[in-house]
Structures are given as C-alpha cells and as structure tokens.
Symmetry: C2
Subunit: 142 residues, 2 copies
Amino acid sequence: MAQVYYEDIAEGTEIPALVKYPTTMQLVKYAGASGDFYQIHYDKDFAQANGLPGVIVHGWLTLSFLGQMVTDWLGEKGRLLKLNGSYRGMNKVHEDIICNGKVTKKYEEDGKNLARVEIWAENPQGEKTVTGTAIVALPSKV
Amino acid sequence: MAQVYYEDIAEGTEIPALVKYPTTMQLVKYAGASGDFYQIHYDKDFAQANGLPGVIVHGWLTLSFLGQMVTDWLGEKGRLLKLNGSYRGMNKVHEDIICNGKVTKKYEEDGKNLARVEIWAENPQGEKTVTGTAIVALPSKV
C-alpha cells in the first residue's frame, strides 16, 4: 500500500476496509495472549448454555483488528496516537468482521498533522459490533 | 502429606493416586502454555468432524498430571530426576483422569537413594491413557 500523506486526506475520506475471519484457534490464542479465559470465547456448549448462539469473539480482539486496519493504512511513516472503542454487539467465530474507518477531522496541533478517524466493525448482518475513534499523525509532503 | 523416605518404600509400594478433572478452560490455558493449538483440544465441532467423541485432553498434560502425582508424593526433600510417558488412549474433557504409580525398583547409585516408579493414567472406563516411568531420589533417615 502506498504511503498516505496529510495532503491526501480530507474530512470524509474513507480508509481501506479490513475484513478478518476469526477462527477458534485465533480466539484460543487471543485468550492466552490477553488472559481473558471466559469460556464463551471457546466453549460452544458453555456459550449456548448461557444464551449465546455459539462461540463469540472477544470485543478487544475486534478492537485490535480496527487498530490493525488503521496502522495498515498509516504505513511506515504514520503514527497511531490513540485508539478507543466500545462494545456494541457480537461477532461470531467463523464469520467475517468488517472493519471500517472514516476521517472526521483534520487538524494541526503542536506542529503535528493529525486526523481523527471514526472506526467501526460490523458483522455480516451489517450490525455495528465495536465503534470507536483513532487519533493519528500523518507525514506531510511539504 | 508426611515426607516419604527411602526406608519407607519397597518394590510394589503404591504411591497415592491423584485424580484430576480437566475443564475446557484448563485445556485452553494448556494450549497457550504449551504452544499446542491443535483444535481437537478445544473445538468440539472440529473434534467431532475428525471422528473424535468431543474435545480431548493433550497427552502431555496428562503426563504432567502424572508428574504432579509423583512430586506431591516426593515432598520437599525428594527429587524427580526423570519422567517419560507414552500416549495410549484418550482422556476426554470433563472426565476424571486417575493417576497411579507403583515402585518397581529400589536401588542406590552414585551415593543416591533412587527408585523407579511405574506411572499410568486411566480414564473412567479403566483404560490406560498414558503410561510411563519416573526415576526419583528419596531422602534417607540415616
């Protein structure tokens, strides 16, 4: 992907979507990496006994995918300064997570070229599952 | 448990059994700890699609339980010098693993008081699932 520069973006610029397909192995690895061993993320029987349709994705893993989408877009010279998100709904294992982002503000501060990016993940039903904001610094051509 | 001494044992001495009850959480934690992320150890659908009755326990986790049985018995002053085992059959998640051991040889070597212990794990059907040997050093009363 070519390097994106501050001059390339405007409010409303959409950043390239990232689609992830979480497997049971990825959730088990994330359980170990995060320390979140709640059984709804790997034990289908447990999840269903607790009223869920099956194994569901850790919300913070979905937020991490949103972070990956932003840093993929920022390239080598851009910087992710802040990332936050809120859990809104379920992503299920073995279903696409569609990560999206859109620039909502472009501004200079302390000599840096910054942008605020609205970010959100969707499940295949089009429901927003994690929504949040990223603050990024972009390189300038000048 | 009281400290066991070399003088306490004879060939044929049985060591106290240890019964473990592995949960899906324990298997997921063991996957992360061991790096063995094969899906038969946490993904019931995957396991059943591969001809298994359900999620099964990592063989090396069962061997680790046998090691725990031996070190519990050895106490503070005993030492586990060698542990090996072979996989013989399945332990399923949410079923007891019964760990057993029996002294098969008692001998002195290089000034140490040693014993060879035959070890084996069983499932609730009485099938041996992991069998092996431990070499231990025991303290002496003299």
